[in-house]
């Protein structure tokens, strides 16, 4: 213990002796880490979305359009073509709901409507139509209030209640508690029942495939679809908007996502059999498998992470050079230590501590610098209404990478100064 404290005191002295030099080392490490953290935060927004749905939740999916998948391959929209598999027709949904096998189910599609808070003139309002089952299928956390229920939907007439996303609540009500207020959609008044809490810096699983300007939306019970006549933002194959809601809802065109909860293997097997009878191209895909598809971030963000990793490598080499130069300049001091009996591993250990300490302090500074950097990123690249955030995963990954970087940058200078005989150093006195 005494040895460790002694070593730390020596390292502290060494760093204090060349203050400007230490400052430059810390600053260059901090700047590199700040941009690396920003890249990780951007990638995290669109990846690693496991745990958002219950383990017995499934989505019904059709065939992917191979032509569209190839069309978008190698571009920044890679994967967009695969969303064609997500859409099923309402007749299919009705047929499968009629089996009574799912313990909960929901449709899910977005439509741009006209509306807004009753106190203001109406404007563009993205609306997501879902069933109350949505809140049972997904692990939804509420910032204010709570969900609407199946009873609200089944009432005659249905209870006009809606749930706002965090992002829309921020846009319309400045983030204040809006529960109980009235919002008008296509001429109908709805009471706000709850505001969902956005997962920090992460997109909701059900928002993948929704264009960014429609992600800040509100959830309306599907029971109101016939009154509000939504026009789904996406249909596959593309259909004519002037057909109108009733025609689109009756058509075999895919227009909605359809999620079900099937807790027992028997229910799953029977549901799959019934599904293949309704449409042989359709299949059940588990929510876990869907989440696994988003283990990788979209192409531009992967490129950004790779580029910032190279920046971090440049910083590691830079740190290595500076530590080496510093150690070499202290040759005489090290020579005295060695002559007085300090073993090689003590010199090695001290150098390593210095490298890791600089790297880790620089990284913590970099994490702090990353806060203004991600704010700048959000302003410059308004890619999503979900703000970037330094999540615990991002912070832990950064510190781990930086610990590794510190070890790598410290090891060569430490080995160099520890491996030379004391007589060589003493000659420099």
């Amino acid at each position: 213990m005494t040895d460790v404290l002694y070593t730390l005191r020596l390292v502290g002295k060494s760093l204090r002796r060349d203050r400007w030099f230490t400052a430059v080392m810390l600053l260059s490490q901090a700047l590199s880490v700040s941009i690396f953290v920003t890249a990780l935060a951007t990638a995290q927004r669109y990846s690693n979305v496991t745990g958002q749905a219950r383990s017995d939740v499934y989505r019904i999916e059709g065939d992917r359009s191979l032509a569209l998948t190839n069309f978008f391959r190698g571009t920044q929209f890679e994967g967009f073509g695969e969303f064609t598999a997500n859409f099923v027709s309402l007749p299919t949904v009705r047929a499968m709901d009629a089996t009574g096998l799912p313990t909960a189910s929901t449709v899910g599609f977005v439509s741009v409507m006209t509306g807004g808070p009753v106190e203001r003139p109406p404007g563009r309002l993205p609306v997501r139509f879902v069933g109350a089952g949505h809140f049972e299928l997904f692990n939804v956390d509420f910032r204010y209030g709570g969900p609407f229920t199946g009873a609200d939907e089944r009432a005659a007439p249905p209870v006009p209640v809606v749930v706002l996303s965090d992002a829309l609540n921020r846009q319309l009500y400045g983030g204040a508690d809006s529960v109980g207020r009235t919002i008008r959609i296509a001429g109908h008044d709805f009471r706000i029942a709850g505001v969902m809490r956005q997962r920090s810096g992460k997109l909701h699983l059900w928002d993948f495939g929704v264009s960014p300007e429609n992600t800040a939306n509100l959830m309306v019970p599907f029971a109101f679809a016939d009154e509000l006549r939504p026009l789904p933002a996406y249909t596959w194959p593309p259909t004519l908007p002037e057909l109108g809601w009733r025609a689109i809802a009756a058509a075999p065109t895919g227009m909605t996502e359809y999620w079900v909860r099937l807790p027992s293997p028997d229910a799953r097997a029977r549901f799959a059999t019934a599904l293949s009878a309704v449409d042989p191209r359709m299949r059940l895909v588990s929510a876990d498998m869907i989440a696994a598809r988003f283990s990788k971030a979209p192409a531009p963000y992967r490129v950004f992470v790779i580029l910032t990793l190279v920046v971090l490598e440049v910083s590691v080499i830079n740190l290595m050079r500076m530590l080496l130069a510093k150690a070499t300049s202290r040759a005489a001091e090290i020579g005295i230590h060695r002559a007085l009996g300090a073993p090689r591993n003590a010199i090695f250990f001290r150098q390593m501590i210095e490298g890791v300490l600089v790297s880790m302090v620089g990284s913590v500074l970099g994490l702090a610098l990353a806060f203004p950097t991600i704010t700048m990123f959000d302003r410059l690249i308004p890619d999503s209404p979900v703000p970037l955030a330094i999540t615990p995963t991002v912070a832990a990954s950064t510190l781990l990478v930086c610990l590794l970087a510190g070890l790598v940058s410290g090891i060569y200078p430490a080995w160099r100064v520890a491996s030379v005989a004391p007589t060589r150093y003493l000659g420099k006195i």
């Binding site: 571009t75 593309p238 002037e242 109108g244 190279v310 080496l324």
Partner: protein, 399 residues
């Protein structure tokens, strides 16, 4: 004997300090890798940002009538006809569209086929009224616009194909006019004309593969009009269009009229922002490398005082000491750039598997090389000038 400025002693010195010099070479190599790819990415996003659209976006005005309550499509189409008549009286070309130019939303393209032919293509559809050609300033290459098109009965919707779409579907522009096409969303159509490529639907791949389909495009919630102002001052037309649509008498709707602003479109904000972020990232690399080199200046000179002293004692003047340091740095930078070039080619192959558009060209390589040679020489100048101040007798002090 004055020591001449030749490479041999520099190479010997490098062998002596091979650890420190190898790290410098590696840092230059990695910095070069980063800089070239920052420039490649910047070129890609900047090209998106400034890409010519093939339409006069700086004189276009977008008007929207949003219905407060949804209404039947037939009623909405009647509204559209009344609105178009009112807007036409303003004297500016006008057409109704299913979506505004530069929509922020991504959309699925539509599969187009020809009866009896295996060839097919994907194209973005724009459903519009006949005024589309004049409003959007589309240049007709073959056939006629939707306004001049006389369709035979039962021939399906008239279709204008861009040159890219026509070539993709028919192999040539010349044979496209009058041919029948099938669009997965609208069914049968006949090619009325071929227009020069334009860029309507954002920044997706093959954005110029477009089919303009003649229709009365409305939804149960909204109608969109595009007008063309006589000049870049669009305020008078915006005011007049707003008044005309309000006077059209549908109180159960809300009117919004705005100048089409390419800079406010999502693709423009994203590509512009990406360029700024990349500039910042490139600056960081240079800053990290340069600050390290400058901070190392005093150490590198102190470490080599004896060597410099000997050279000065042998007759080297200050200019030669500066040249010695600069040449040494140039050699190291050259090694670094050589290694960096190999690594760059390797990384580019990897990145292109992720984003095919990140094509490395000689421009980025040359600009990056220039940046590193200049910053390398600048970073060497500080220790070089400091070393030049070392007097010849310093050689004796540490012998």
């Amino acid at each position: 004997m004055r020591p001449s400025l030749d490479i041999a002693p520099i190479l010997r010195s490098m062998r002596h300090h091979k650890g420190a010099f190898s790290l410098l070479v590696l840092e230059v190599a990695l910095g070069f890798v980063m800089m070239t790819h920052t420039l490649v990415s910047m070129r890609y996003y900047h090209r998106l940002h400034v890409q010519p659209m093939g339409m006069p976006d700086d004189v276009l005005v977008v008007a929207r009538r949003r219905f407060l309550h949804p209404r039947d499509v037939a009623v909405a189409q009647a509204n559209q006809r009344a609105d178009l008549a009112a807007l036409a009286r303003l004297g500016a070309p006008v057409a109704a569209f299913d979506t505004a130019p530069l929509p922020d939303a991504a959309a699925f393209p539509v599969r187009f086929t020809r009866p009896g032919a295996a060839r097919e293509t994907l194209a973005w559809t724009v459903r519009a009224t006949p005024g589309v050609t004049a409003t959007m300033g589309l240049r007709i290459i073959a056939g006629a616009g939707l306004d001049a098109h006389q369709a035979p009965a039962g021939a399906g919707a008239p279709v204008l194909l861009t040159a890219s779409a026509a070539e993709s579907l028919f192999g040539t522009i010349d044979h496209a006019v009058g041919q029948e096409v099938n669009g997965a969303s609208f069914g049968r159509g006949r090619v009325a004309g071929v227009v020069a490529d334009f860029w309507f639907r954002g920044w997706v791949p093959a954005a110029t593969s477009i089919a303009v389909v003649g229709a009365e495009p409305v939804t149960e919630h909204e109608i969109i009009y595009v007008l063309r102002a006589p000049g870049t001052d669009r305020a008078p037309l915006i005011q007049a269009a707003s008044a005309a649509l309000t006077a059209a008498g549908d109180s159960d709707s809300t009117i919004g009229v705005n100048a089409l602003d390419r800079r406010a479109a999502r693709f423009s904000l994203l590509s512009g922002g990406a360029v700024v972020i990349l500039v910042w990232t490139g600056f960081l690399v240079i800053a990290v490398a340069l600050s390290g080199s400058l901070a190392l200046a005093s150490f590198s000179v102190a470490e080599r005082t004896r060597q410099i002293g000997v050279r000065r004692a042998l007759g080297a003047d200050r200019g030669q000491i500066v040249s010695y340091f600069l040449l040494e740095n140039l050699i190291l930078t050259t090694f670094g750039l050589g290694l960096g070039l190999v690594l760059t080619i390797g990384l580019n192959a990897t990145l292109r598997r992720i984003m095919a558009d990140l094509q490395l060209t000689s421009d980025e390589v040359l600009v990056s090389m220039l940046i590193f040679i200049v910053t390398g020489l600048l970073s060497a100048l500080v220790p070089a000038r400091r070393a030049a101040l070392i007097p010849p007798w310093a050689a004796t002090r540490t012998l």
